[in-house]
Amino acid sequence: MYKAIVIGTSHGGLEALKVILPGFKQGFPLPVIVVLHIGDHNNDPFIAYLNQWCNIPVKEAEINETIEPGIIYFAPPNYHLLINDTFSFTLSIEKKVNFSRPSIDVLFESAAWVYTKSLIGVILTGANSDGANGLLTIKKFGGTTIVQNPCSAIATTMPRAALKLAKPDCRLSLEEIVLKLNELAYSMK
């Protein structure tokens, strides 16, 4: 059984997340943990915005907070987000990775070490190659890997880099990703 979904995206990410996140129904059995590159800006406006569209709560991840199923967590701007083996969050101000803080690689790698094969990693539209290494780590630790089909992405660099390096299990459109995540989340694998 899967225990968590991690999603990474940058340019065009908010539009893509607006398709994916409302696809999780109330009582969704997994936590969804997201890194979206938005520069130094405050997260609050788009978290409020997404809360209007989503059926499950959306919030910013806090230090030492216990990760709960059925909640969508966002990494705070300017901090890396990591996952502890007690299934709680750690934040870090260590230097940027792939010119990014939060970095998708940092989240994905730490999630892979903790959730191993019970993890689903998703890379969406984006304009740099952050996340490719992280997705590869998820694969190495037995998790399931999904990349948005670059043909349907607003920015293709991120999905292309992830496809090339991690050779993911699936390459899908946003609509297909919603279906796939629901299928996996409720599966008994």
Binding site: P76, Y79, N84, D85, S92, E94, W113
Partner: protein
Amino acid sequence: MTNEYNESNADLLNIEIKLLLEAIFLKYGYDFRNYSKAHIKRRVLHWLNVNHTKTVSELLHNILRNREIFYELLDDLSINVTEMYRDPEFYKSLRNIVIPKLNTYAYFKIWHAGCSTGEEVYSLAILLKEEGLLGRCQIYATDFNNKVLEIAREGIYKKADIEQYNRNYELAGGKYNLSDYYQAMYGSVKFQNELSERIVFADHNLVTDSVFADVNLILCRNVMIYFEKSLQNQVLKLFYESLVPSGILCLGSKETIKYTQSENYFDTLDEKQRIYKKKLI
């Protein structure tokens, strides 16, 4: 990636890291056992990759026999990233809320814990100078990494970063020009002795060393983000015991006293900027 960890031995990684932290504590006295496991794991695996080492056990073997390797790893674990006037809004609040309180003392002490290379301490000293309080205070700036303290004592920073610092300084409500406080040299700047004269830089470990006596203001920002809950509670207690009654505690922008054991021992002056005041009780 050169480390050998994957799906089949992920559990070994946890076990070996536990042994490594125990060994470091026994041999060198630095206690990382209650630091965030995710953070430690990330830094240790980073170290393995950079140094072409396959397992944590191999690193453990080397660390026990070679002090140099331990200090290299210490640098990696301590995350010394910092900047001047990080979170400008915080410094605005400091000016508006905390300065008037310090102004009521004829003489006061500030403890800046986890000061890293010192950019934050100089930011604070400049602010105090602009408010006319620098001559009335003593600042103790501490860290457990001696290498960064050396840099902090020098007060010399890269010129390339100054543009960003200048922007932060203005956003933070700086009254004059940041350039009034440093001398430019080749590729770097040196902050005035007038500022560093008020600062004592000292080696102090928040986990294993004891309290500071009768401090009026403590700043400890982005240090406790690396601690597990139990250790956060322990260090907050240390801060409580170091402060005078009504003394002030400032934390980093994602750190809060809420939901900790110290919650009831402090009043909140500004929750958004994480400024708290020790209750009289």
